[in-house]
Amino acid sequence: MKEIDARGLRCPQPIIELGKEVSFMHAGDQVMLHSDDPATEPDLVAWSRMTGNVFDKKSKDSFVITKLSER
């Protein structure tokens, strides 16, 4: 699984980096996002709703994102 290390980056950069990577992925693909920005988790909730994808929190700073939508 590809990983994005966004630790040390502040919002909205982790979500922007995630969006770029997801745009190259296909439905069913996964990517691990590492981010210590306090806005990342709440923004992943909104981002998932807006883009039709899902995420799973693996640890305090790590999230697995699964692409469901082809947008």
Partner: protein
């Protein structure tokens, strides 16, 4: 420096009538109303007139009106003053930080927020509960269904946070204390009006020697200006809200055509003069500065604009995007030209920042 032609921040200049009265009030209302001198008696009369005017506009008894300063002190006075030893505080996830600070010192239960910003009513079994209920949210303007929440918690002691809703939304019939912010009717900042409707349920939580009617000694000229602002805004609020609703609809329609815009709450369930919108992949601080360079001032709930770099707990509780956020407050003097200019500026800058 760019000249700001459109103010869409939550703060605004004083109501013009209040501004007029302020100068005169400093001339005639400088004395201590508690003293027996002639000037003191005059100041006392002015203060009583102001309190009666405020009570009339808020439809409460004059004895229940307690002016305080700063407004934030009212959260502690109005809420902590309702506690008995075994009280549990029930409050919303979208309440102000002041309520969270009081909750941190007491047993508490938090009501979650739905995506539309409405709190989800819960049947709690907490005994001796105190309910803190924010009538309208300060960031999004979402108006709560107070009756439903009150019915679900069955709290006998209720603190209403009317600091944002002001006179735009009626109070619940049954409540113990309520807090208003003079700014909500374009009166002076940092002047709060605490209503103690049920004195038998409230005790002054600050150290005090005299248990009689509390007096927190606010500036008399500011109180007079607030009373005048309230009296005048009471006659203007209906027209102001109708105009704001039209402008708000224009803004929502324009922003909803921008890709990946996340608008908090619907116009049907928010205050007509408030709008919070977040744009995916935009930096809130950069967006705010870019809009300001076009001559428009707005607020933002994004983490990058906050002192502590924390995202807005209100947007997070709702599940709304916290970055790229701007908050727009439509004031009575706002014009169609202001709205058109702001709309163009926001859209242009969102597109520019995303590239």
């Amino acid at each position: 420096m760019v000249r700001i032609t459109g103010n869409f921040q939550s703060e605004s200049p004083l109501h013009p009538k209040a501004f007029d009265v302020l100068h005169a009030a400093f001339e005639s209302g400088w004395a201590d109303p508690a003293k027996l001198s002639q000037s003191g008696a005059k100041a006392r009369q002015l203060k009583n007139n102001a309190l009666e005017s405020i009570a009339r506009a808020l439809s409460v008894g004059v004895d229940s009106v307690v002016p305080i300063s700063p407004t934030s002190l009212g959260y502690f006075l109005g809420l902590q003053g309702l506690f008995v030893e075994s009280s549990t505080l029930i409050h919303g996830a979208t309440d102000r930080k002041e309520v969270f600070a009081i909750a941190a010192k007491n047993p508490h239960h938090v009501l979650k927020s739905a995506l539309d910003g409405k709190l989800i009513p819960e049947n709690t079994s907490a005994k001796q509960s105190v309910l803190a209920l924010q009538i309208a949210n300060a960031e999004t303007g979402v108006v709560q269904e107070c009756d439903a929440i009150n019915a679900s918690t069955q709290s006998e002691r209720i603190f209403l946070d009317a600091t944002t809703s002001g006179i735009r939304v009626p109070l619940l019939d049954q409540f113990s204390t309520a807090l208003f912010d003079s700014k909500s009717w374009y009166g002076p900042a940092e002047l709060g009006i605490l209503i103690v409707k049920k004195p038998s349920q409230w005790s002054n939580p600050l150290p005090h020697l005299n248990a009689a009617h509390p007096n927190f000694d606010v500036s008399l000229p500011l109180l007079l200006a607030s009373a005048v602002a309230l009296e005048n805004f009471s006659t203007e609020v209906e027209n102001a809200d109708a105009q704001a609703r039209k402008f708000n609809q224009d803004l929502r329609s324009a922003f909803s055509r921008v890709s990946d815009a996340d608008i908090a709450g619907s116009l049907d369930t928010t205050l007509a003069h408030m709008l919070s919108v977040s744009f995916l992949n935009c930096n809130g601080e950069e967006l705010l500065r870019a809009i300001e360079s076009d001559g428009f001032s707005v607020d933002s709930g994004s983490a990058c604009t906050a002192d502590n770099l924390q995202p807005s707990h209100v947007l997070a509780a709702m599940g709304v995007l916290t970055h790229g956020n701007i908050r727009i407050t439509i004031h009575p003097g706002t014009t169609q030209s202001d709205i058109d200019g702001l709309t163009d500026s926001v859209i242009k800058n969102v597109i520019g920042l995303r590239q």
